[in-house]
C-alpha cells in the first residue's frame, strides 16, 4: 500500500505541485466571485471545462495540428503555446461573463433570495456542460501533442518534465499578476471595496455591475489559464471533467479561506499534494472521496479556512 508512495515520493511531490498550481488558478475563480458576491459560482467548474476546449480549438483548428502531427519546436512552439493559453483564457473569460449576465445579473437586480440565485447558477452550469456534451457527442477529446515532454533533470529519482516546469512557472506568474492586479490597480481596489462593504462602495460611486462583471472576467481568465495547463499536462479533455476539478478547486479555496486570494494559493498547492499522495496510497478511484472528506473536515473544524472568513455566518 505504502510502497508506491515511498518509492515515488519525490515524483509524486512534483506532479502534486503541478496539479496544485492548476487548482490554484481554478480556486481563484471561486474565491474572487465569492469575495464580491458572497456566493459560490457553481458554474466555475464548467468555465474551466470550456477553457480546456479553448486550448484544443486553438491548436487543432487554428494551427491545424492533429493527433499524428510532430510536436512544435523553437519559436513556433512558443507561439502556439501562447495562442493556446490566450484562447483558453478568452473562452473561459467569455463564458464567465455570460454566466454572470444570464444567471446572476437579473436576480441580483431583483434582490431575490439566495436560493434562487444558487439554483439559477446550477442550471447554467448544467447548460454549459450539456452544450459541450452535445457538441462533442459525449466523446473524450484528445489534444494534439504540441510540447514534447522532455525530461529536463532528475532529482532524487524524480523526473522534472518540461510541461510540469512550464505549468509551475507560468501558473505561478499568472497568479502573481492577478494578485498584483487586485492589490494595486484601480479596478482591483474597487473589487476589494465591494467585497468589504457593498453599500458603502456603491455610495462612493463605484459602478457595482462593472466591478462584478470584471470580477467574473478575472476569475474566468484565471480558470481558463488552468484549462490550458490541464491540456498541456494531461492532453485530454471531456465535457464532464469540470465536476471533479471544480470540487477539488473549491475545496482548495475553502482550505485557504474562501474569498482570500493568497489563501487560494496555499490551499491549491496543499490540496494538489494531498490528492496525489492519497491516490498513491489508496488508489486513484478514491481521489474524489478523499477531496470530499477533506472538504467536510475543513468546513466542520476550521470553516474559516486558514486565512479567511467564517462561512457559517454567511446567510442562506
Amino acid at each position: 500500500m505504502f510502497t508506491v508512495f515511498i518509492d515515488q515520493f519525490w515524483q509524486l511531490t512534483i506532479s502534486g505541485i503541478a496539479l496544485g498550481f492548476i487548482y490554484v488558478l481554478i480556486a481563484l475563480g471561486y474565491t474572487m466571485v465569492y469575495g464580491v458576491l458572497r456566493m459560490i459560482n457553481f458554474a466555475n467548474s464548467e468555465i474551466f471545462m470550456w477553457g480546456t476546449f479553448g486550448a484544443i480549438v486553438a491548436s487543432r483548428d487554428l494551427f491545424g495540428y492533429n493527433q499524428t502531427s510532430e510536436p512544435a519546436h523553437g519559436a513556433k512552439l512558443a507561439l502556439v503555446l501562447f495562442i493556446q493559453l490566450f484562447a483558453s483564457m478568452a473562452f473561459a473569460g467569455l463564458t464567465a461573463v455570460t454566466v454572470e449576465f444570464v444567471a446572476y445579473r437579473r436576480l441580483r437586480a431583483k434582490g431575490t433570495n439566495r436560493l434562487a440565485t444558487l439554483i439559477s447558477a446550477i442550471g447554467m452550469s448544467m447548460v454549459l456542460s450539456e452544450v459541450m456534451r452535445l457538441l462533442t457527442a459525449s466523446r473524450p477529446v484528445g489534444s494534439p501533442r504540441i510540447l514534447e515532454k522532455v525530461i529536463l533533470v532528475e532529482v532524487w529519482g524524480a523526473q522534472i518534465r518540461l510541461d510540469t516546469l512550464i505549468t509551475i512557472m507560468a501558473a505561478g506568474a499568472i497568479f502573481i499578476i492577478l494578485e498584483r492586479f487586485v492589490k494595486l490597480s484601480r479596478m482591483g481596489k474597487a473589487i476589494r471595496a465591494v467585497s468589504m462593504n457593498e453599500d458603502a462602495a456603491k455610495l462612493m460611486g463605484i459602478n457595482l455591475n462593472r466591478v462584478i462583471t470584471t470580477t467574473f472576467l478575472v476569475g474566468g481568465l484565471a480558470t481558463g489559464a488552468a484549462g490550458f495547463f490541464y491540456i498541456t499536462v494531461y492532453e485530454y479533455t471531456k465535457f464532464n471533467i469540470g465536476f471533479t476539478m471544480g470540487l477539488a478547486a473549491f475545496t482548495a479555496a475553502v482550505i485557504g479561506g474562501i474569498g482570500n486570494i493568497r489563501g487560494a494559493f496555499f490551499g491549491g498547492v496543499s490540496l494538489g499534494l494531498a490528492e496525489v499522495y492519497a491516490s498513491a496510497i489508496l488508489g486513484t478511484q478514491w481521489k474524489s472521496v478523499t477531496i470530499f472528506i477533506v472538504l467536510v473536515l475543513v468546513l466542520l473544524f476550521k470553516p474559516s479556512g486558514l486565512f479567511g472568513e467564517a462561512v457559517t455566518q454567511t446567510r442562506a
Binding site: 444558487l118 442550471g123 448544467m126 450539456e130 472521496v289 468546513l299 457559517t312
Partner: protein, 342 residues
C-alpha cells in the same frame, strides 16, 4: 383575467366547498390519476417507450422524489444537491438484499427506507450546521461519493451493476408483468398519496411550523427557541426516506441497477421538477415532476437533450417566474420577500 393565478383559483374552489364536496373532489382526483394508465391510446401516447412504463418511471417516481426533495428545499429552504444518494441507497438496498436474501420488494421497502434515513442522519448531523452554498456543495459531494463507492467496491458488482432483481410478489392475486405496468403505477400512486398525506399532516403541526420558521429566518427561529438543527435533520431525513422508497421502487421496476444511473444529473433533474412546479407547494411540485418526467418521452427531440432543457428550465424559471407554475401560498410568499429585503 389579468391577475389570474391557478393556485389561488384552485385554493378558492377548495375553500368554498363543504366537507362532502371536498371528499368528492379528492375521490375524483384520485380516480382520474388511477385511470391514467388507460389513456395510452389517446394523444398522451409516447412514441418510443411503452406508455404505462413511462408513467411509472420517470413520471410517478419523479413526482414521488420531487415531493421528498420539496420537504428539504421547499419547506425548510436547504438546498440539497445530493438527493440522488438516497435514491441510490434505496435502489442498492433492494438490489443487494434481493440478490443475497429471499426477501421480496415489500419486505425490503422498510429496510431501504431505514437505510436511506440512516444515511440522512449520518450526513445531516455534521453538515446541516452549514448553510446555503456550503450545504449545497457538501451534499453534492456526498451524492457523488455514494456513486463512486458503488462503482469501486466489490460487493456492489462495481460498474457491472446488479441484475436479476426480483419482481415484486403479486398483490391481491394480480401479478406484476414487464409488458403491463399498470399495477406498478398504482403502487407508486399509493406511495405518492401516503407521502402527500404525511407532508400535509406535518406542515400544519410543529415540524412544519419549525421548517417554515427556519426557511424564513434561521437565526430568528433559533432565538425563538426552535431547535433548528433537530428540525433540519428531521426534514433532511424525511426527504431521504422518500428518496429511499423511490429507489427501492425504481430497482423493482427496472430489475437492473448500475452506478451510472445515479449521477449528479438525477439530483439536478429532481431539483428542476421542484423549481419548475413551484418550490414549497406540493401541488406545484407534483405538476412539475409529472410534466418534466413526461415531456422528454413525449417529444422526441427533448429526450436527446433533456438535461440541457432541464438546465434551461432552472435558469429561466428562476429569472422570470421564481415561484414556479403553481406558487406557494401568498401568505408564505409575502413573508419571504420581507425577509429577503431586510
Amino acid at each position: 383575467m389579468k391577475n389570474f393565478n391557478l393556485r389561488d383559483f384552485g385554493a378558492g374552489i377548495w375553500e368554498r366547498s363543504n366537507r362532502y364536496q371536498r371528499v368528492a373532489i379528492v375521490l375524483v382526483t384520485i380516480t382520474l390519476a388511477a385511470l391514467l394508465p388507460f389513456a395510452g391510446a389517446s394523444f398522451l401516447a409516447t412514441p418510443v417507450a411503452a406508455y404505462d412504463a413511462v408513467l411509472v418511471y420517470p413520471v410517478a417516481i419523479f413526482v414521488l422524489m420531487s415531493l421528498g426533495l420539496n420537504i428539504v428545499v421547499g419547506k425548510s429552504g436547504m438546498l440539497d444537491l445530493g438527493y440522488v444518494a438516497f435514491f441510490a441507497i434505496g435502489a442498492y438496498t433492494n438490489g443487494l438484499l434481493s440478490m443475497h436474501t429471499g426477501l421480496n420488494t415489500w419486505e425490503i421497502m422498510p429496510i431501504g427506507i431505514g437505510a436511506a434515513m440512516f444515511a440522512g442522519v449520518l450526513l445531516g448531523i455534521p453538515t446541516l450546521r452549514l448553510r446555503g452554498d456550503y450545504l449545497a456543495i457538501v451534499t453534492l459531494g456526498f451524492g457523488e461519493i455514494i456513486r463512486i463507492v458503488a462503482l469501486n467496491v466489490s460487493w456492489t458488482n462495481g460498474p457491472n451493476g446488479i441484475s436479476g432483481i426480483q419482481m415484486p410478489p403479486p398483490i391481491l392475486g394480480k401479478e406484476f408483468a414487464l409488458d403491463d405496468q399498470k399495477l406498478f403505477f398504482w403502487v407508486v400512486l399509493v406511495m405518492i398519496l401516503l407521502t402527500i398525506w404525511m407532508i400535509r399532516r406535518l406542515t400544519v403541526r410543529r415540524p412544519g411550523r419549525a421548517w417554515e420558521a427556519i426557511r424564513q429566518d434561521e437565526d430568528a427561529a433559533e432565538l425563538m427557541g426552535v431547535p433548528t438543527l433537530k428540525y433540519k435533520i428531521w426534514s433532511f431525513t424525511l426527504g431521504a426516506a422518500i428518496g429511499g422508497a423511490a429507489g427501492v421502487l425504481y430497482a423493482a421496476k427496472n430489475l437492473f441497477i448500475s452506478p451510472e444511473m445515479f449521477t449528479l444529473n438525477v439530483s439536478i433533474l429532481i431539483l428542476a421538477c421542484v423549481v419548475f412546479g413551484g418550490i414549497g407547494n406540493i401541488w406545484g411540485v407534483i405538476l412539475g415532476g409529472a410534466i418534466l418526467g413526461y415531456l422528454p418521452d413525449r417529444i422526441r427531440f427533448i429526450s436527446d437533450a433533456r438535461l440541457l432543457v432541464f438546465g434551461l428550465v432552472l435558469v429561466v424559471v428562476m429569472n422570470f417566474r421564481p415561484d414556479g407554475l403553481l406558487p406557494r401560498k401568498k401568505r408564505e410568499k409575502a413573508l419571504v420577500k420581507k425577509g429577503a429585503s431586510a
